[in-house]
Amino acid sequence: MPAYLARRLVQAALILLGVAAITYLLLYMLPADPARMVAGRSAGKEQVEMVRMQLGLDRPIWEQFGSYMWKLLQGDLGRSYLQRVQVTELLGARLPASLLLMVGAIFCELVIGVTLGMIAGLRRGTAVDQTLMVVALVFISTPQFVIALSLLYVFAYWLGWFSIGGYGEFQHLVLPSLTLGLLGGGWYARVTRSSVIEVLRQDFIRTARAKGLDRWRIVLVHILPNAVLPIIAMVGIDIGYFMGSIVVVESVFGWPGIGQLTWQAIQQIDIPIIMGVTLLSACAIVLGNLLADLVAPLIDPRIKLR
């Protein structure tokens, strides 16, 4: 186990370095000029060149790349072009809001997904099952911005239960979490259903039924814990997906997290921030996958970590 973990961590570090290198070179090959963006539209040629020198963008690309990677190895993500602050500081300041949203989203996903999936799986083949699975597919097929704007329209504008956007109170957390939770909940419902069906076929369920155990006891004690394990592995993979979704959801709700920071940075061609967010997300994806793999043997003892 420790050897496995060590090897996976080394692999993860290599993948992250690869992601950093490719993203960096990609961003500088694209036809966009950060110096012009920083200098402003009205700036003259000389001013733009001045900014270019200040930012170190006049050096040969390999020199820039080398110094970025060298600093990265020391944990330094560089400074934002426009805000002139360390990127690590900016990310640190925005992280709590995004983590809060993530906790809310995962909570909604689990509640929605496991509930729908359990009901559908226990009533497999009935009209209830089919309806719930179509509902789950509707959640999966609807773009986040449509879910977000629909929830805003109904619950904030029409019913007036929540305020439109904002941050700091519990009521502000509900709609963004629900937006992310409906989408993920659709996926979880499908996985939970399959795994409930799988568990129902096991001998111990037949034994439990034969013993004459109470129906609810079978569902809550015997089926639920076994059916929910694959979902836990899925949460790991989900964390990476989450990093992409928050760009859309945070921009709709004005949520002051990493997603909003990313969106602003992309519009301002603030490459150090884009790099930082990409690396942070890649970290989340790699660690999430690792987590999922580590949980797998707990779910199915036949799986061995190699």
Binding site: V19, L30, P143, F145, L149, Y153, G244, T262, I266, A282
Partner: protein, 282 residues
């Protein structure tokens, strides 16, 4: 044909197929169906205060902020969505199959390089990467197609790789080798036909993924550029008025969801019917 019979026996999947087909017809026949030109700005398309009109007899789905007919714009928007769905998904499927097939069949050096490359691709935050590239290169349809194809290649390569490696271990492939069949023959005559079911499933489900991706990029303003209509950019343009003109958000938004849903319904049924790993489990 058993697949077709299987589909017919699933009413939900058939509904999906009919709806998806209807979208294709609408997209192809857009000039014939659309009541007006998608770009024409009508004098009577705005209220006296200059606000867009809600759905009425003349403009069935209402008008947008410039007094253009929303229905006509959405009909042409179907073209954009389907073009992206077709091409981005096609490129991803082709590239993913090539990578997965090569890596799964060849051993040694090439395989480890290709698989490490897909590992790397899977670690990229797809949406952030796509938004960044699209924003920095400029909002153009081809760029949107390439970007979406790029981020969808990894997953396809993964699946094809897994299938190919398990196929390559099977006896009939060993038998082919024993009678002296060349690599190309084995790959194209024996492995590829066995991959077909899984490619059909992924190809179908991929349409909805790419359509959603295009909608999100265009919604963020880095996808298809106005005045070229796309469901995503119609929502982008109209969203600041969604309290007073909700039709500008909801009609195109639901169009995206409906297309993605119908394709997913078909893809799901196909997966149940075709995916050998799922056979007999549902």
């Amino acid at each position: 044909m058993s697949v077709w019979r299987g589909l017919v026996r699933r009413p939900v999947a058939m509904v999906g197929l009919v709806v998806a087909f209807a979208f294709v017809v609408v997209a192809i026949a857009a000039p014939l169906i659309a009541p007006y030109s998608p770009q024409e700005q009508f004098f009577d398309g705005l209220t006296l205060e200059g606000a867009p009109l809600p759905p009425n007899e003349r403009f069935l789905l209402g008008t947008d902020l410039l007094g253009r007919d929303l229905l006509s714009r959405m009909i042409y928007g179907a073209r954009t969505s389907l073009i992206v769905g077709l091409f981005a998904n096609g490129i991803a499927l082709l590239a993913g199959t090539l990578i997965g097939l090569t890596a799964g069949f060849l051993r040694g050096f090439v395989r480890s390089i290709l698989m490490r490359a897909t590992d790397l691709m899977m670690a990229f935050p797809a949406l952030i990467l796509a938004i960044t590239i699209a924003a920095l290169v400029g909002p153009r349809l081809e760029i949107v197609i390439y970007v979406i194809a790029l981020v969808n290649t990894g997953p396809v390569a993964r699946v094809v790789y897994a299938e190919t490696t398990s196929l390559a271990e099977r006896e009939f492939i060993a038998a082919e080798r024993a009678i002296g069949a060349g690599t190309a023959r084995i790959l194209f005559r024996h492995i590829l036909p066995h991959l077909l079911p899984i490619l059909i499933v992924w190809g179908t489900l991929g349409i909805s993924t790419t359509v959603l991706f295009e909608a999100i990029l265009s919604y963020l303003g880095v996808g298809v550029r106005p005045p070229e209509p796309s469901w995503g950019n119609i929502v982008f343009d109209g969203q600041s008025y969604f309290q007073t003109a909700p039709w500008l958000v909801f009609f195109p938004g639901f169009a995206v969801a409906l297309l993605a849903l119908s394709v997913n319904l078909v893809g799901d049924a196909l997966r149940d019917l075709l995916d050998p790993t799922l056979r007999g489990r549902h």
